[in-house]
Symmetry: C2
Subunit: 426 residues, 2 copies
C-alpha cells in the first residue's frame, strides 16, 4: 500500500474560516516533501468544481503565495455547499460518483484531501468507501474545518479558536464602549454570533469576562437551551441595575420552547416565499425595547467573524496547518478513510502541547458534538470555568498578517488551470 | 492672560471611538509639563457628571495607565449625550450653566477641555462665552472627536481613520469569504456601517478595493444620496453577472427619495410606540431577496466598528493624542474658545506631515461637513480617486495593543474621586 505513486488533489468545502487556507498550505507544503506525490492539484470550489474537472496546478504557484495562505482568510481554492447525497437523490449521487472517479482516473489522482465540516467529512467517507468498492487505489483523508466546532472526536476544529478570539475581543471592546456610555437610564447591546444550532461560538465569548463577573458578556444565550423570555428579561433587569448596562451574546440559531428559531419571522414572507429573517439579535432588541423600554442596540458580526484573519489565533492557525500536514503524512503512510483530529495534552508544567491523530471517517460523518451540559452554569446564562479551561488555550497567540498602506496584504493564487481531459459533465 | 494658574478638567462626550482616550492621554501628559496647571481632574460622563460634581483625581492614576489610554477604546472617563440646550429649554440650560460655574469655582477649574463631536463643540463654545460674560478666567478648548468625520475646518476627525481602517479590512475579509463561495447561483452580502446621515464611513471602505474594480465593495450606498431601488437592483445584477457575487456597503442613515430612513419600519411600532428598526442592511437584504431572489446575507458592525482598538490606525491615534496636547498648549498660551483642528501638508517627497491648528468654536458648532460632490462617481455608487487620495493616509500604521492570553489587555483607570464641595445638584 505505502508505495502508491500518483497525483494529489486537495479541495475546500462549506463555509470558509480565517484558517482553512492554513490547512491547505499544510497539505501543499507537506506534499512537496514526498516523492510518491507527483503532481499537486487544487480543486476549485470543492466537489462541485472537481465534478466539472476544474483543477489548478499548484506547482505554478509561488512558494511565498502558499506560505501566505497561512494568514489569508476564506477559501483560496473556492468552496461549495454541494453534497453527494445518496439519501435525497441516489441516482444523481451515483452519477456524481461515477463522474468523480472519471476525473480521478483521468488525472491519476491517488491522494485526495478535503477540508470541511460534517457534510464534507461525510463526502470524504463516501469517496473512500467508493474507492474501496471500485478497487481504485486512493488515499482519502479528511481535514477538519468549522467555526461551529461541532465535529466529534477532535479536541477542537480549526477555525474555532480564531472566531472566538475575534468575537471575544469584540465583546471586550463593545463592552467598554457601552459601559462608558452607561448612565442611570441604562442600556443594552446584543451581539449576534454564528454557530447555527451549536452554541460553541457564543459560549466562547465568555473569555471576554477574564474571570470578572462584572465584565461583559453578562448573558450568553446558547441555541442548545430553549429561550425563556421572562427569565431572560429578569436577568437583563438585574444586570442593568447592577452595572447600568448589559451585554448579551446570542447564538444565531436560538430557538423558543417550540423549537422555532426566534430570528425567523414566519409571518412575513417575501415574494418568493422566504420567511423574512430579522435575526436573533434584532428580535431580542425588539423584545427588550418593547417589554422593558431599555435602549438596546445590536451588532451582527456575520461573515466578518469567520473571515477575521487580521485577528486570528496563532494556536488555531498552527493547528490548522498541522492538520493539513498530518493528513498528507497519513496518506503517504498508507492510511485512508480517516479524518485528522487535534489532540491536546497538558504537560507537567501546565503548558499545553498540541498534536494530531486519526479517527475513522465512519465515526465522524453526521455526528454533532455539543457543549457538555456540566460546562454551563446552572441558570444557563453563562458557561462555567470548565468551559473557560477548555477554550482559553485556543485563542492564544496572534497571526502576523503583512500590512500595506494600513490594510492587510492577503495573497491570491494564480490558479493556472490543468488541461481538461474529459467531455463536459452531462 | 498667559499667567493664569489653576486646575484642569477634561471630559469626554458623545459616542466613544477607538482613539478618544488617546486625546485624553494627550491632554493629561501635556498638562503635566506646565507649572501653571496645578491639579488635573477628569470629569466622569462628560457634562452630566461634572454637573453632579463627579470628578476624579488624575494624579492618583499610574503613568502607565495614562499611556495605556492610547490603545484603550471607549471613553475611559465615561461619556454622555447630555446637552446644555438653550434652544429647547432656556431655563434649564441657564440653571445648568450656573451649576457648572459653581463646580468650576469650587474646584478652581481654569482649564477646560472637552472631547467630542458637533454637539460637544457647541457645549464648549457656550461655556467659553459664558465664562467671558461672567468674567470667570477660564480657558476652554474643544478637542475634536467623531467617527462620523463631519466636523468642519479640520482635515479629519480623530476616530475616523480607525473606523475606516477596521471597516475596510472587514470588507476585504468578508469579500474574500463571499467571493470564495461564489458559484453560478451568485450571492450578495450587505455590510452596514455607522455615520448617521453622513456617508464618510461608508465611503471610506472604498479603500478595500485597492484600486481594483473587481474588488469589493462593489456598491457603496451613501446616505447623502436618495436610495433608488431600481438603479440599485440593476447595479447588483450587473455586479453578480460580472463577479458572481456582490458586496454592498450601506451607511446606516440611508434614506429614500421622501427623506425617510429605509431601516426604520414605521408600520411596526412596539408597546412604547418606538418604530421597529430593522436596520438598513436588513431592509436591503429583504429588497434583494424579495425582488431578484439572490441569496443575501448581512453584517451590521454597530458599536464594534468604533471600538475596534485591536485594529486602530496609528496615524489616527497619533493625531488624536496630538489634538489633546495642542489643546493644552493653546490654553496655557492664553487661548480660549477654539477647537483644535488637524492640518495635513503634503511634502515635496509626497509624504504627509500632520500638524494641528486652532479654529474658533463659533465656526464649528452645528456646522456639518459633507463629502464633496466631486469626490463621488457619476453613478453615485462609489467614491472616486479624489476621495481615496484623501482617505488612504488616515488608515496608515497599526496601534500596538498589548496582549495577554490571546486577548487585548486594555487599561482601566482607578477613578479616585475628588471630594465634593457642593450640595447635590437640585
Amino acid at each position: 500500500m505505502a508505495d502508491l505513486v500518483g497525483n494529489l488533489l486537495v479541495g475546500q468545502s462549506g463555509g470558509p474560516t480565517a484558517v482553512i487556507n492554513a490547512s491547505v498550505a499544510g497539505v501543499l507544503q507537506e506534499a512537496g516533501r514526498h516523492e510518491c506525490i507527483e503532481e499537486i492539484y487544487g480543486g476549485l470550489n470543492g466537489i462541485l468544481g472537481i465534478l466539472n474537472e476544474e483543477l489548478i496546478d499548484i506547482n505554478e504557484e509561488k512558494a511565498k503565495s502558499i506560505e501566505g495562505l497561512k494568514y489569508t482568510p476564506a477559501a483560496a481554492l473556492g468552496t461549495c455547499r454541494y453534497k453527494i447525497d445518496f439519501k435525497k437523490n441516489a441516482e444523481k449521487a451515483a452519477k456524481d460518483m461515477d463522474r468523480l472517479f472519471e476525473v480521478f482516473t483521468a488525472h491519476n489522482i491517488r491522494f485526495f484531501f478535503y477540508a470541511g465540516g460534517n457534510d464534507s467529512q461525510d463526502t470524504s467517507h463516501k469517496i473512500h468507501e467508493e474507492a474501496v468498492k471500485r478497487a481504485y487505489a486512493l488515499r482519502v483523508i479528511g481535514v477538519p474545518k468549522t467555526i461551529d466546532n461541532d465535529l466529534p472526536h477532535t479536541d477542537s476544529c480549526p477555525g474555532y479558536g480564531s472566531v472566538i478570539k475575534y468575537c471575544s475581543a469584540t465583546v471586550m471592546e463593545v463592552g467598554l464602549d457601552v459601559g462608558s456610555m452607561a448612565t442611570d437610564d441604562g442600556s443594552c447591546c446584543i451581539i449576534e454570533v454564528m454557530g447555527r444550532s451549536a452554541g460553541w461560538i457564543a459560549a466562547g465569548t465568555v473569555l471576554a469576562k477574564q474571570g470578572n463577573p462584572a465584565n461583559p458578556p453578562h448573558i450568553i444565550l446558547l441555541p442548545e437551551l430553549p429561550f425563556d423570555e421572562e427569565k431572560f428579561l429578569a436577568k437583563v433587569r438585574v444586570t442593568v441595575t447592577a452595572y447600568k448596562y448589559c451585554i448579551v451574546v446570542v447564538g444565531e440559531g436560538l430557538k423558543n420552547a417550540a423549537g422555532e428559531e426566534i430570528g425567523a419571522d414566519k409571518t412575513r414572507l417575501d415574494a418568493f416565499g422566504h420567511p423574512v429573517l430579522s435575526g436573533a439579535a434584532e428580535k431580542l432588541a425588539e423584545i427588550i425595547q418593547g417589554k422593558i423600554d431599555l435602549k438596546t442596540r445590536t451588532v451582527k458580526l456575520g461573515y466578518a467573524q469567520r473571515a477575521a484573519a487580521h485577528f486570528a489565533s496563532a494556536t488555531d492557525a498552527k493547528n490548522a496547518a498541522a492538520c493539513g500536514e498530518a493528513a498528507v503524512r497519513a496518506a503517504v503512510d498508507g492510511q485512508s478513510g480517516f479524518m485528522v483530529k487535534i489532540i491536546r495534552s497538558v504537560q507537567a508544567s501546565g503548558a499545553i502541547a498540541w498534536g494530531t491523530g486519526l479517527q475513522s471517517l465512519a465515526d465522524i460523518a453526521n455526528v454533532e458534538h455539543f457543549i457538555p451540559k456540566d460546562w454551563i452554569s446552572e441558570d444557563g446564562f453563562l458557561p462555567n470555568e470548565k468551559f473557560v479551561e477548555y477554550a482559553a488555550p485556543l485563542v492564544e497567540g496572534e497571526v502576523k498578517v503583512p500590512m500595506e498602506g494600513g490594510l492587510p496584504k492577503f495573497v491570491q493564487l494564480e490558479k493556472v488551470r490543468v488541461e481538461k481531459k474529459l467531455a463536459p459533465r452531462a
